[in-house]
Amino acid sequence: MAKVLEMRAITKQFPRVLANDKVDFDLEQGEIHALVGENGSGKSTLMSILYGLYQKDGGEIIVRGQPVEITEPRQAIDLKIGMVFQHFMLIEPLTVAENIVLGSEIRKGPFLNHKKMVAEVERLSQEYGLQIDPEARIADLSVGLQQRVEILKALYRGAEILVLDEPTAVLTPQEVEDLFQVLRTLKSKGTSIIFITHKIKEVLAVSDRVSVLRRGKKVGTKLTKDTNEQELAEMMVGRVVLLRVEKGPANPGPEVLRLDGVTVKDQFGQVKVNNVSLSVRRGEVLGIAGVEGNGQSELVEAIAGLRKVAGGRIYLGDQDITGWSPLRIRKAGFGFVPEDRHRRGLILDYSVADNLILGIHGSRPFAGTAGIRNQGKIMEHAEELIEKYDVRPPVAAQAVRNLSGGNQQKVVVAREFAQNPDLLICSQPTRGVDVGAIEFIHQQVIAQRDQGAAVLLVSAELDEVLSLSDRVAVMYNGEIVSVMPIEEATEHKLGFLMLGGHPEEYGAGEVSGNAEQN
C-alpha cells in the first residue's frame, strides 16, 4: 500500500525532557493506524509536530512522497492534514456551521452565504455519516456531537489525513461505538487516520496497524491482527526498572478512609468518578495505578473537599466528611500532596518558609493573639524541615519559585508529612522530580506508613506504585476495576488493567506464551 505519510527520525527536545527520540512513523493510504503509549511517551508531541504546533529539532516529514516543512497549522491544513484535538477548539456561542467554516468562509459578496454554509455542512454530514444539525449552537451539543463538529471541520478543509488525539477520553461507551463507525466510514472513503490512545481495547477494535511509543522512543509497529492485549501492554509499559525501596511488612490497623459509592462529576456534568468504593487502613499504603485522566484527580480532590461529591459518602475515621470544607478536613488529620504543585501545592512567590506553613498558618505557634504571625517560630519550623528533607538551596526566605522541581516537591512533601496526618494522599508525588529526590520521597512515604498513617498513593508511574504499595487498585474510566494485595501485582497485570483490560481476561495471554519470561 502506498505510504501517504512518513515521519523519519523525528527528534524534539524540550528544556528538561527529550520528548521524541528519533521516532519513525508512517501511515499507509486508507488505513487506521493507532499510535499508543502512556503519558509522557511522546505521542502527542509527535502529532503536534506534524500539525505545525511544534517545530521538530531533527528528522524529516514526507507527505505523499514529497519532503515538507510544516511550521504552522495553516501549512498542515494545506497539505490536507486535519487534527482533532483532545481539548476542542470550538466557539461555544456560534453554530456548528459557523464553527466549521470559520477561517475559510463561504461568501456571497461581502456577506456570509448562510444557505450555502448550511448546505455544505449537510452534504459533508451525509457523505461521511456524521449526523449533525448545522444550525445548532455548540454550547448546546453533547461532547460526542462536538467531536463530530471537529471532525467535520477537518473534512471541510479537505483533510485526507486525519489525526485524532485521545478522542474517546471524553465519550460515553455508546458514543465511542458511534465514533468507530464514523472512522470506518471515513476509511472506506479513502481517508487515512491516525488514532492516538492509551486504551488497548480501542486499538484492537478499530485499527489496522498499531505503533507503540515509550518514553520518547518508538518501541515497534505491528499489524493489529497479529498482536494482542498482553503484547501491547508489555510494549507500552515495558520492562520496568524497579526502584524498590527498603521496607518492612505492613501492619495495618483500623480503617481510616472509606469511600462508599462515590460519584463525582465535572463542570459539564460528565461522570468522572463512577460509584467508587474503597478503604484504606492505618499503617498501609493503598496504591491506585492508572493512566492519568481516568478519574484519579477528581477522586482525590473530592476526598480533599476541593470538589463536590455528586453521590456516595466519604468517611475519615468514624466521621462522615462528605461536603466538608478543605480546612475542616485538614484539621481532622488530613495531609495531601497534590498532583500539580504549581497550581495547588505551592504559592510560587511566597518564601519557602511561608509555603511550609500553608494550611496551618493560622494556628499556634505560627500565629498568636490578634492573628499576629510569629516570624521566629515560622522560621524555626522552616529551618527544621529544610534540614530534615534536604531542601536545596537551604534558604528559608527565598521564593519557592527559584527552586528546582524536585526541591519544590520536597517542600510540599515536607509540609504535608510533618503534620503526621492520619490520612495522607499523595498524587503523582514524584512527577518532574530527579532520581535522588524520588528515592528520598519514597522513603518518607514508607516512614509515614510505619508511623501509622493511612496512605493513599495515586500514581501513573507503575514502578512507584509497585515499590510503595501494600495493596494495589487500578482505576480505569472512573472506576476501580480491581484491588489486590501487592504479592499478586505484577507490572504486566497492572499494565493490562490500566489500559482497559478486563480482570477475568488476564491470564489468557499466559497460555499463548506471550507472558514475560523472568
Binding site: 497549522p73 466557539i91 456570509l112
Partner: protein, 309 residues
C-alpha cells in the same frame, strides 16, 4: 396622573431622548467591537473626549464641520491604536491602560485647549453640523416630530447600529471577530490572525467613540469645553453590558438611558431628584451583571492578552 403621563410620553421628550442617546450609541458600538474582539475598553470616555476636541479643532481650522468629524474619527482611531499597542503588543493590563488613557486624554485635551485658546475653559465657537429635515419621515404625523428633523449624526447613529449589526452577524469578518473574542486559540488554529483582528477592532472602536464625541462639540453644542463628555463614555460602557454586547441591545439601552436623561428636568418638577435618574444606568448595569434580569456575560476571552503557543 394624566399630566405625568403626558409629560413622559410626548414627542418632544422622545426627540430629546434620541439626541441624548446619539453620542452614547456611537461610543457603545465602538465598545462592542472592541470587547467582542477580546479587548476590554474602559477608555471610551477618553476616546470620546479626544474626538470632541479633535472635531472642534479641525472645524476651527477648516471651517468645515464634516471634515471635523473625520478628524475626530482619525483622532479616536489613534487613541485606539495606543490602547491596542499597549494591550496587545506589550500585554499591559487592559483595564489599567484604559484608565491611563482616560486620564491622559483628559489632561491632553485641556492642555491643548489652553495652549491654543487661552485659559477660558472652553474653545471659541465653531461652525456646526446643522440639523436637517428628512423628506419622507417629516410627512408622517407624530413620527415627524421625533425623526423628521434631527441632526444628521442622529440618523447616522441609527444607520451605524444597523451596519455594525450586519457586519458582526452577517460577514466573515464579523464571524472571525466573534471567534477571536471567545476562543482566540481556536481562531488561531484555523489561521486567523488574532492580533491583527484586535488591532483593527480597537481602532474602529476609537473612531466610533470619536464620532460620538463629535456630536457633543460640533452638533449638540458649538464648542469644546473641558471634560464635556462628563462620564458618557462610562454610560456607553454600561449600555454595552446592559445590551448584552449586541448592537441592537446597546441601541435599546442607549435610547433608554437617553430617555432618562431627557426626562430628568421634567421629573425634577414632580419631585424626583435628577441625581436618581443619573444613577439609573449604573444601577441597572450592576443589576444586569448580577443576573437579576438574566445573566449578562461578555465575550469569554475579553480581558486577557493572547499569547501564542
Amino acid at each position: 396622573m394624566g399630566d405625568i403621563l403626558a409629560m413622559m410620553f410626548n414627542t418632544t421628550v422622545f426627540a430629546a431622548a434620541l439626541r441624548m442617546a446619539t453620542p452614547l450609541i456611537f461610543a457603545a458600538l465602538g465598545g462592542i467591537l472592541s470587547e467582542r474582539s477580546g479587548v476590554v475598553n474602559i477608555a471610551l470616555e477618553g476616546m470620546m473626549l479626544t474626538g470632541s476636541f479633535a472635531a472642534m479643532f479641525v472645524t476651527y481650522h477648516t471651517g468645515l464641520p464634516w471634515v471635523g468629524a473625520l478628524g475626530a474619527m482619525a483622532a479616536g482611531a489613534l487613541v485606539g491604536l495606543l490602547l491596542a499597542v499597549f494591550c496587545i503588543r506589550y500585554r499591559a493590563n487592559q483595564v489599567v491602560t484604559g484608565t491611563a488613557i482616560n486620564i491622559f486624554a483628559g489632561g491632553l485635551t485641556v492642555f491643548l485647549l489652553r495652549h491654543f485658546f487661552g485659559a477660558a475653559g472652553t474653545s471659541p465657537q465653531v461652525p456646526v453640523i446643522r440639523d436637517i429635515t428628512l423628506p419622507v419621515l417629516s410627512q408622517i404625523p407624530w413620527v415627524d416630530r421625533i425623526l423628521g428633523r434631527q441632526n444628521p449624526l442622529v440618523y447616522l447613529a441609527l444607520v451605524a447600529v444597523f451596519l455594525v449589526h450586519v457586519v458582526i452577524y452577517k460577514t466573515p469578518w464579523g464571524l472571525r471577530l466573534r471567534a477571536v473574542g471567545e476562543h482566540p486559540q481556536a481562531a488561531d488554529t484555523v489561521g486567523i490572525n488574532v492580533f491583527k483582528m484586535r488591532y483593527v477592532a480597537v481602532m474602529l472602536s476609537g473612531a466610533l467613540a470619536g464620532l460620538g464625541g463629535t456630536y457633543l462639540s460640533i452638533a449638540h453644542l458649538s464648542r469644546f469645553s473641558e471634560g464635556m463628555t462628563a462620564g458618557r463614555g462610562f454610560i456607553a460602557l454600561a449600555a454595552v453590558i446592559f445590551g448584552k454586547w449586541t448592537p441592537l441591545g446597546a441601541l435599546g439601552a442607549c435610547l433608554f438611558f437617553g430617555y432618562g436623561d431627557a426626562l430628568q428636568m421634567r421629573l425634577q418638577d414632580i419631585g424626583i431628584p435628577t441625581q436618581f435618574m443619573n444613577m439609573l444606568p449604573y444601577v441597572l448595569t450592576m443589576v444586569a451583571l448580577a443576573g437579576f434580569i438574566g445573566r449578562a456575560v461578555g465575550p469569554k476571552a475579553a480581558g486577557q492578552p493572547y499569547i501564542k503557543g
